[in-house]
């Protein structure tokens, strides 16, 4: 071997190693071999005191591909500002009678008012916070005597009207106070606003005057200013911003997305909900036999959080087939077995639609399984 060849081989090895290091650092998992990464971590439920947000517009200046379709997503619409609320403007007068209690949600100018009366006394307050995009429904957080309440009744799109708020007792309330709504403890309020808005909870304190409605870029990626400054100074952008897309499968599903969509960590509460827990996808998918730490089964393997939800079941086939062999094909090394009965529309059988009557909505059950005819809902 000539010295020249030796030198070339050495250069090639070093270059390959360097490239490998760069690839691992940039695209590698957040946790490598169980060792915590030094990259920024972001917990949308624990925004540190003093955190400032810059808003979606600043992010959109560079990240056009992600930001352009985002406003149409369910997460973006997780809370509506009352003056511009589509649900409240399109449904300016909603009423419901529960026993001796009459409810009314009425639009007056740019404001909507929630009232309940027993015929003798009436509680009427302006609606300040409208949670939910209206695809399924919308619930209201109401302010009264310095406390916050969850409205006892909610709007449901399917009936274009009011009904009991999901999770509240489905019985006629015992008093006008009870009919009005459920007093929220501070921890619950923090959870509501941490998931449905940005900037409303900082340092575990409510700062509703700074609320940015819906899930915003910085809700998931953390404050943008350090990232912008770093990029302008020529530093690699990934170091100064959190990217949940780099989390391992289990971390993303059960630790990050589950912060709002709720996972197995809250098993006790979710189990007690029975059928109602179908709304909480991280919990349901954790129960699946095919669930693992693999990135092919994490939330973003099927859902692009920057784009509206894909309703076409065929869209998801390629995700299933990323692991499962096709019918008639032999199971390649590392692949999971093929479905013996079909080659497409996997989710239509293996992720059944569950109708939640109380929600006036049908949910996709994320507990991926072989559904047996007449089986009881596996809790």
């Amino acid at each position: 071997m000539t010295p020249r060849f030796k030198r070339s081989a050495l250069i090639l090895c070093v270059a390959t190693l360097c490239a490998l290091v760069v690839v691992v650092v940039i695209y590698g998992p957040e946790i490598v071999n169980g060792q915590a990464s030094t990259r920024p971590k972001w917990n949308p439920h624990r925004v540190p005191a003093g955190t400032e947000f810059i808003g979606d517009q600043a992010c959109g200046e560079c990240h056009k591909k992600a930001s352009l379709p985002y406003p149409a997503t369910g997460m973006s619409l997780a809370m509506e500002a009352v003056p511009n609320s589509k649900v409240l403007t399109q449904n300016p007068h909603l009423t419901l009678k529960l026993g001796s209690y009459s409810y009314e949600i009425k639009r007056e100018g740019n404001q909507s008012f929630y009232s309940v009366t027993d015929g003798k006394n009436t509680i009427k307050v302006p609606i300040n916070y409208a949670l939910g995009q209206g695809r399924m429904g919308q619930t209201y957080v109401l302010e009264r005597n310095g406390n916050l309440y969850e409205s006892r009744v909610s709007f449901y799109n399917e009936i274009k009207g009011l009904d009991y708020t999901l999770g509240s007792p489905q019985v006629v309330p015992a008093s006008l106070e009870e009919a009005f709504g459920r007093l929220l403890e501070n921890a619950e309020v923090v959870k509501c606003f941490a998931c449905h808005a940005n900037g409303a909870v900082v340092g575990q304190k409510l700062q509703l005057e700074k609320i940015d409605h819906g899930v915003r870029c910085e809700s998931c990626h953390g404050p943008g200013m350090p990232h912008i400054v770093a990029v302008k100074e020529g530093e690699p952008g990934y170091k100064s911003v959190f990217n949940p897309g780099r989390l391992s499968g289990d971390d993303q599903s059960q630790q990050f997305c589950a912060k709002c969509h709720r996972g197995g960590d809250e098993f006790s509460l979710l189990q007690s909900m029975g059928l109602n827990n179908v709304r909480f996808q991280p919990y349901r998918i954790f129960l699946s036999k095919c669930y693992s730490d693999d990135r092919n089964i994490r939330c973003t393997a099927c859902h692009n959080p920057h784009e509206p939800l894909q309703e076409d079941t065929a869209y998801y086939d390629s995700r299933c087939l990323a692991c499962h062999a096709l019918k008639g094909q032999s199971v390649a090394q590392g692949s999971s077995p093929a479905c013996p009965v079909a080659t497409k529309d996997c989710v239509s059988c293996h992720m059944p639609k569950i109708e939640l009557k109380a929600a006036h909505f049908t949910f996709t059950d994320h507990y991926i399984r072989i559904v047996k005819p007449g089986e009881k809902y596996p809790n």
Binding site: G34, R46, L183, E185, N186, A187, Q204, F286, Y291, D293
Partner: protein
């Protein structure tokens, strides 16, 4: 006998009178609807004259209130036909009425052996065992009765619930006791006994009411008011009650601990300060360490959580919540092997705890042990099937809550 234990017995007797009253008049109402009619109700050609005669005499004596005579006749009838469920029920109930708890216990044991799905029988057996101070089997029987139900007998249900809560408190399983006591809040009126039990929970006093130190009574009752308001989510009232409690008993670590638990849902910063105060007053207060560690874990402050979780495990190595939090903190710190060990130990201590299997499944996944993770997730899934859990409890006589929460005696 001290006043509190008398009161317990009065309460028990009152409920029992209602139970027996119902039984005397409408026996079928207290039984499982699926159970076939008792043999006495369907005379057949296989009838035994001596049994029929004894059963008839027993019923006459019972309805006439001649209890000694009824006992003799039931005993005779049961000697001839030992598989007569109603005979054991009536005999047990009469013994209980006469404060002959050992005999009552034996009668109900025979009954549950014949009809293991009869909730009221398990409830009565539990009450007998409570009176004979066989507390561990008592709580198992009471919980089994609760899981099977009492066929609409609300009085018996209430008494059983109360005694189950007392026993969990006595076993220092205050969180379970608190959850059971919370069920009383569905009823608008309940007496000071419930407040007293709530007080024992909040002050973490592992006593039956009659065993609590007399000089603590005032504090127990005041804590009870705070506990009721807290459980009922009457937040302003709870704050006022805690303010009084803290003002009068500023050096009781458990007062600060309870206030900290209350504040966890209101203002976690205040909660942490309260738990810190607990540790100043009692540096060995393990539950405060566990609470703080969980709160720091939530906040991603793993390095703050770690020493607390480690100390908590050191102090109470058989308490699985400490293992749970330590394992999870270690996992977040990237110490996967240690995390797995702690969580495996937690699973060994609490094999029926879904949260332990959930945490272990995630740790195995992180460690790249896919098959182990799959297995743990499968166990988690199975445990989540509530119906199955209840069936298991009914079959084995061990309430799932006991299995999950009690430290392993080994």
């Amino acid at each position: 006998m001290t006043a509190p234990i008398k009161n317990i017995r009065i309460l028990s007797s009152l409920a029992l009178a209602l139970v027996i009253g119902q039984v005397f008049t409408t026996p079928a109402q207290t039984r499982s609807r699926k159970r076939p009619a008792p043999p006495t109700a369907q005379p057949t050609s296989q009838q035994n004259p001596s049994f029929d005669n004894a059963a008839k005499l027993a019923e006459e004596a019972r309805t006439a209130g001649r209890l000694d005579e009824a006992i003799a006749s039931y005993t005779e009838a049961l000697r001839v036909r030992p598989k007569w469920p109603d005979g054991w029920w009536y005999l047990g109930a009469i013994f209980y009425e006469k404060d002959q708890y050992s005999q009552a216990r034996d009668a109900f044991k025979n009954l549950v052996a014949l009809e293991p799905k009869r909730g009221p029988a398990w409830g009565m057996l539990g009450l007998c065992l409570f009176q004979t101070r066989e507390y561990e089997p008592a709580v198992i029987s009471l919980q089994r009765g609760r899981s099977l139900g009492f066929d609409g007998n609300q009085e018996l249900e209430s008494v059983v619930r109360y005694h189950a809560a007392l026993l969990y408190i006595r076993f220092a399983q205050f969180e379970i006791g608190y959850e059971i006591l919370r069920e009383f809040l569905r009823v608008s009126n309940f007496g000071p006994k419930i407040a007293e039990a709530f007080g024992l929970v909040l002050l973490r006093m592992p006593y039956l009411p009659n065993e609590a130190p007399a000089d603590k009574r005032e504090e127990i009752l005041l804590a009870g008011q705070a506990g009721i308001s807290m459980a009922a989510r009457r937040l302003d009232q709870a704050r006022t009650a805690f303010d009084s409690l803290l003002e009068r008993y500023p050096n009781d670590p458990n007062v600060h601990y309870s206030y900290g638990v209350f504040q966890l849902a209101q203002d976690a910063d205040i909660a942490l300060k309260e738990f810190q105060r607990v540790l100043e007053l009692d540096p060995q207060h393990q539950p405060a360490m566990v609470q703080m560690a969980f709160e720091y874990l939530k906040r991603d402050q793993y390095n703050d959580a770690l020493p607390l979780a480690e100390r908590a495990v050191q102090l109470e190595p058989k308490m699985y919540p400490a293992r749970n939090v330590l394992g999870r903190v270690l996992l977040e710190l990237g110490q996967v092997d240690r995390a797995v060990k702690e969580l495996e130990e937690g699973v060994r201590l609490a094999p029926s705890s879904p949260e332990m299997h959930f945490a272990l499944a995630r740790a195995y996944a992180r460690a790249g042990r896919k098959q182990d993770a799959d297995r743990e997730r499968q166990i988690f899934r199975t445990l989540q099937d509530k119906g199955k859990q209840e069936d298991d409890a009914a079959r084995t006589g061990s309430a799932p809550i006991t299995n999950t929460q009690k430290p392993n005696p080994e």
